[in-house]
């Protein structure tokens, strides 16, 4: 039973970090609605993904693997946790998001709706509409079938629409 430690070169990891951490952080922002949580989550995901880097058959897979790790980390963290408390005001204050002067109410309502969605619906929306992943890729990351992704997204959209008072 042989086992030992190996090391990925620090430079290599630093490169990975510099290249991919910003995207991971941005996805985490959408998933958590809180900068502090997003940093935590992206960090956690990066550590997890970097540790698996050597095992990836194709090194180009790293961004996809990291994205998956971010979503998985967020799913684990959201367990038994108040997803819903991350709402618009906290988000604006923390993330330093600049909001347009007009349509604040609508933005607020949408944002509030986003962060009260069940976590899987929010992740599905983020992967499809922010990361521009296909339904198949989204399904892979969420560990479900394409039909489930469709359902998650249509329900997510329906909830957002309701938040805007039934806009088409």
């Amino acid at each position: 039973m042989e086992a030992a430690e190996g090391r990925v070169s620090a430079n290599r990891v630093a490169d990975l970090y510099a290249m991919h951490m910003p995207a991971a952080l941005r996805l985490a922002l959408i998933l958590t609605g809180s900068r502090e949580d997003a940093e935590d989550l992206a960090q956690e995901a990066f550590v997890r993904a970097a540790g698996r880097f050597m095992d990836l058959r194709t090194k180009e897979a790293f961004p996809a693997y990291l994205r998956r790790a971010v979503v998985n980390a967020s799913r684990m963290r959201d367990r038994r946790r108040r997803v819903a408390q991350r709402h618009a005001s906290a988000l604006r204050a923390e993330a330093g998001v600049s909001w347009p002067q007009t349509g604040i109410d609508e933005r607020d309502a949408l944002s509030r709706a986003l962060f009260t969605l069940p976590e899987r619906q929010r992740a599905a929306l983020a992967l499809r509409f922010y990361c521009d992943l296909s339904e198949a890729d989204t399904a892979e990351i969420l560990g479900c079938r394409r039909g489930t992704v469709k359902s998650l997204i249509s329900r997510g959209i329906a909830a957002m629409r309701t938040a805007l008072g039934g806009e088409p």
């Binding site: 949580d37 961004p63 038994r80 108040r82 997803v83 069940p118």
Partner: protein, 437 residues
């Protein structure tokens, strides 16, 4: 239109200024080895206690390593080619069980698409995504795991070694997302049909009194509580109160007897439902009044429940202490009344993180979570003898999120990574054992 607005919103949220630093990162890579032509990884538990920095507890070590006074890390040996996260833990018949999901390394090839890559799913019979583990004299063995439920969060109840229920994952037989429930009868795993017609829903916890009396709880996607019951022949929906709230979920169920079952969760108030053998009713939790001044909703939650040897119950959750801060809340059910009791101060940096509760046979209450002290994050076990809390910090373990008692011991499960936030080392699932042996 709405889709464009959602895109705009997501882009806007993601456009917040970010600042990425990178200092001295050290990543410990699990050593791969070749066995029978298969690449496998020895998942090591890396627990660094005082004076053993850098030491790695590898799978073949048979000696428990002390991690702090009164606690150690029993040797664990989990061989997997993938990364594992434990999502539930149970004790049955004096044996500790855990269930987790493994994350597959997806096979990916670059293509020219907005996402830049295409992820290819491996053959359906590729490595199992679920790992069931049973503590066996200082190491873990792996009974057959449920075959379905890719990469999803799993919860389970071991009624006996030949009577195990697993919930988690989803199926989409219909237009709705519905939970996947699987049962082990000692020789095979069988998927068990769940009720339809509730829209999309999930079952987040399961606990059984005996083989023909098993309860499941969760929530619908439109935020009503869900309680279901297995009577030996089918899983049927039970009629249970669903407090009117903007967000309701049941998180845990504790089946003590046929006429004594508890489900806890939260909405805009902490929720505790009780089954008396005839019906489910909501019991009053007094804590809501103590949240005065905190903007509703999202005040106090209940996220874990355990029975004490004297018949009392204890439940743990979070109490919002400000717009962005929270601390642990503890409730006790005594003489048919819930009351809020003194909770340990777990300054967890203002974040509502995972928390769990267990009671050992000597009546000691244990809470697993994490604390932040001078910016240093550490997994923390708080221990109460009924009047005072003492806090045990587990160095170099980030967070303990699950805890189960076995006699006078508790087993806490969580994750560790080392180094500063900007100089992380690889995390692993860790198991910490505390208490008198």
């Amino acid at each position: 239109m709405i889709e464009a607005k959602i895109r705009d919103l997501l882009a806007e949220i993601a456009s917040a200024p970010i600042d990425v630093h990178f200092d001295d990162v050290r990543v410990r890579v699990r050593r791969r080895r070749i066995q029978n032509g298969t690449l496998s990884v020895l998942l090591s538990v890396s627990l660094i206690g005082a004076g053993v920095a850098g030491a790695s507890m590898l799978g073949h070590s048979r000696r428990a390593r002390p991690v702090s006074s009164g606690c150690d890390a029993p040797p664990t040996k989990i061989e997997t080619r993938d990364s594992l996260q434990i999502t539930d833990v149970d004790v049955a018949g004096g044996t500790v069980w855990a269930i987790g999901s493994m994350f597959k390394s997806p096979e990916v090839r670059p293509i020219s698409s907005p996402s830049g890559v295409e992820i290819r799913r491996g053959p359906e019979n590729e490595p199992k995504n679920i790992l069931l583990m049973r503590a066996d004299d200082g190491s873990w063995d792996q009974p057959p795991a449920p075959p379905q439920g890719n990469g999803t969060e799993l919860h389970f109840d071991v009624i006996a070694a030949n009577d195990i229920w697993v919930t988690g994952g989803t199926s989409n037989n219909s237009a709705n997302v519905e939970p996947l429930v699987q049962h082990w009868n000692g020789s095979t795993w069988t998927r068990v049909e769940v009720p339809h017609g509730l829209g999309s829903y999930e079952l987040r916890a399961v606990d059984g009194v005996e083989s023909n009396d098993v309860w499941f709880v969760g929530a619908t996607f439109d935020r009503r509580t869900v309680v279901m019951h297995w009577d030996g022949t089918a899983i049927r929906r039970a009629d249970a109160p669903s407090p009117d709230s903007s967000y309701v979920t049941l998180e845990r169920v504790l089946a003590i007897a046929r006429d004594d079952v508890w489900a806890v969760g939260w909405g805009d108030r902490p929720i505790a439902l009780h089954w008396d053998g005839g019906r489910w009713s909501e019991t009053k939790i007094p804590s809501a009044q103590t949240d005065a001044g905190i903007q509703a909703p999202w005040k106090t939650t209940l996220e874990g429940i355990a029975a004490a040897p004297n018949g009392d119950l204890v439940a743990v959750g979070h109490r919002q202490t400000g717009p962005r801060t929270s601390d642990v809340a503890v409730m006790r059910y005594h003489n048919e009344k819930w009351s809020q009791v003194d909770a340990p101060t777990m300054d967890n940096g203002g974040q509502a993180l995972l928390v769990d509760i267990a009671v050992t046979s000597d009546g000691t209450i244990w809470i697993a979570s994490r604390t932040t002290e001078n910016g240093i994050v550490a997994a923390t076990l708080a221990k109460s003898n009924g009047s005072t809390w003492s806090i045990e910090r587990i160095p170099s373990v980030q967070m303990l999120s699950l805890i189960a008692s076995q006699g006078n011991q508790v087993f806490a499960f969580g994750e560790a990574y080392h180094g500063s936030p900007h100089a992380p080392q690889i995390d692993t699932d860790v198991i910490v054992r505390c208490g008198a042996s």
